[in-house]
């Protein structure tokens, strides 16, 4: 198991109910700093629900989420962002009618403090902050290779670029933990490879940790340091990618048991 001493995120006995449905059931997940962790499992396993709990969209009925030693269970999404967690969505949720650059600049919102009066009167502090927001956004947009599209409306760029833009927006919040929900969904082979390269490069160059949900096994096998498998709200296996690949329970969860096949 990757370095247990550098546990960044702890999900402890997480339970989330929707009416009669137990979407997440006593779920544990530890994520270690500087690594790429993958959360996999069949559709409806509860993976996105876990992400939604971690990022504050849902409040769990049971369990805790601890980040860098802080209990962030049930906190509001924007608070969780300032702690250092940023995310992307399964169905891309960009700010469609704003430019690509503005999308990333919105990420920097929580890292600035200028208020209404400062913005109306353009104090020097506010001007400095605006310039800084711009600079950070510009460097991130270059990082994902979308510099040329910076003034395009987000809804007008290609699908693959939109995926990268969403990641860039998340990076715009200066996160320590990047949570990606099916980032390769809808990408072709070339785009997927480029995404994998990008993510591994990210881990190497920056002080960042990545947790992702993925269905594409090439991505999971290719870049993960550790894989956690979920089915029907519970963790059914975890380990190094190669071990998970051959794990009987995992195969059963995805493909069904011998009798039903």
């Amino acid at each position: 198991m990757p370095d247990k001493n550098k546990t960044l995120l702890v999900n402890q006995k997480l339970t989330k109910l929707f009416g009669g449905l137990t979407a997440v059931n006593n779920f544990d997940l530890d994520v270690h700093q500087g690594k790429i962790f993958s959360l996999i499992g069949p559709n409806g396993a509860g993976k996105t629900t876990v992400f939604n709990v971690v990022t504050g969209i849902y409040t769990p009925e049971g369990g805790k989420v601890i980040f860098k030693g802080n209990d962030i269970t049930g906190k509001k999404p924007h608070e969780i962002v300032s702690y250092g967690i940023a995310r992307t969505f399964q169905n891309i949720r960009l700010f469609s009618n704003m430019t690509c650059l503005e999308n990333i600049m919105s990420g920097q919102h929580c890292r600035a403090t200028s208020g209404t009066w400062a913005s109306i009167f353009r104090t020097s502090h506010q001007k400095k902050e605006e310039a800084n927001i711009r600079t950070v956004a510009e460097s991130r947009i270059r990082q994902v290779g979308l510099w040329d599209s910076r003034d395009e409306l987000a809804k007008n760029i290609a699908y693959g670029s939109q995926r990268m833009l969403e990641i860039a927006r998340a990076l715009g919040t200066d996160p320590m933990l990047l949570i990606l929900d099916e980032p390769s969904s809808g990408l072709n082979q070339k785009e997927t490879e480029s995404l994998m390269e990008f993510l591994t490069g990210l881990i190497k160059d920056e002080d960042i940790t990545i947790l992702l949900i993925e269905h594409d096994m090439n991505v999971v096998m290719g870049i993960s340091d550790w894989v956690v498998v979920m089915d029907e709200g519970k963790k059914i296996a975890e380990g190094h990618p190669e071990d998970i690949y051959h794990n009987a329970r995992v195969i059963e969860a995805y493909l069904g048991s011998e009798e039903t096949r």
Partner: protein
């Protein structure tokens, strides 16, 4: 390829510099060549512009359906009316007081309901607007004068002989206030505040997970919008010298709503155009008295059919709102 300054939404500078000079020139000359009747029309144009700008923050920038905005307008007007007639407080001092009263009211009533989903928020704002109007009619604590309202409001004075009491002076007063408001709003648009608002309008959930405190910024929009409407109420009250509940009906809220939509959501020049339409239309069609509202309603429908983005959509949305006619033609082709 040359990139436009995307963050500068102000279309008045750059290539349109000369148009601005001409407009400003006309603006200054107008009251000296027009009769009082027409200057007053231009005054109300200014009031509606200010009201439109105030609602634009809530509806245009953040995308919240507010159909009770007349309530804030009323609070501003009545605060001025009551404090001036009962305590003799000068009108100009009451401008920030009215703004504060309306803003505070917005903060108190909107806090418990700001999380409601768009359509439910809409009906609640309608209810709030009606509650304000009904409360004013019912004359609680004998403060509001009931259906007849409050009379005898002073003119604004800067001390000594500098009293604002003529049509021309009111014209300049309102348009100076509008001008200052526009400058402030443009600066807000181009700041992290304005961006936060727009993000919330685009996708509330994504805004939250991008670090924006959605609740705070929604409330902020309402408070600022209410404060500006309160200022409009103050100036309106002193111009008319009296206020009564029938100036602050649901219909007024609908008019303001239409101003923002007909002009173009989030677009400041659009609001000016929308306000112009709303205040000038009845005048132009005065000879047709009985039928003019039929035409008004028809024009509203036609406008949405052919320019749903508004008369002067904010640049980015202008790309998005293709005219329906074009789309229909493409389908037939």
């Amino acid at each position: 390829m040359k990139y436009s300054k995307t963050l500068n939404h102000n279309p008045f500078f750059g290539s349109r510099h000369s148009v601005l000079i001409i407009v400003l020139g006309l603006f200054f000359i107008y009251p000296f060549i027009a009769s009082n009747y027409y200057i007053d029309i231009a005054f109300f144009f200014g009031i509606y512009t200010l009201l439109g700008l105030s609602l634009n923050i809530v509806l245009g920038e953040v995308g919240l359906f507010d159909l009770g905005h007349a309530g804030f307008y009323a609070i501003g007007a009545y605060t001025t009316a009551i404090l001036n007639t009962k305590f003799g407080i000068p009108i100009l001092i009451l401008i920030p007081v009215s703004a504060l009263a309306a803003g505070l009211f917005a903060y108190i009533v909107c806090s418990p309901i700001i999380h409601l989903r768009g359509d439910y928020l809409c009906i609640v704002t309608i209810g709030m607007g009606e509650i304000v109007r009904l409360a004013l009619i019912n004359n609680p604590f004998d403060l509001t004068g009931g259906p007849n309202g409050v009379f005898g409001i002073d003119f604004p004075t800067l001390g000594g002989p500098f009293v604002i009491d003529s049509s021309i002076e009111y014209y300049f007063l309102i348009w100076i206030v509008v001008g200052l408001t526009i400058v402030g709003l443009i600066r807000l648009q181009n700041s992290r505040i304005g961006r936060a608002w727009n993000c919330i309008r685009e996708d509330e959930v994504a805004a939250g997970t991008s670090g924006i405190n959605v609740r705070f910024y929604k409330l902020l929009a309402f408070v600022i919008g209410a404060a500006l409407a309160g200022v409009a109420g103050n100036i309106y009250a002193s111009k008319l010298m009296c206020v009564s509940p029938e100036s602050f009906t649901f219909w007024e809220s609908c008019l303001m709503f239409c101003i923002v939509l007909i002009g173009g959501m989030g677009s400041i020049p659009g609001v000016i155009i929308g306000a112009g339409f709303i205040s000038l239309f009845p005048e132009i069609f005065r000879p047709f008295a009985m039928y003019r509202m039929l035409v008004f309603g028809t024009v509203m429908i036609l406008m949405m059919m052919f320019r749903p983005g508004g008369a002067w959509p904010r640049k980015r949305e202008g790309v998005a709102f293709q005219s329906l006619v074009t789309r229909m033609r493409e389908k037939d082709a």
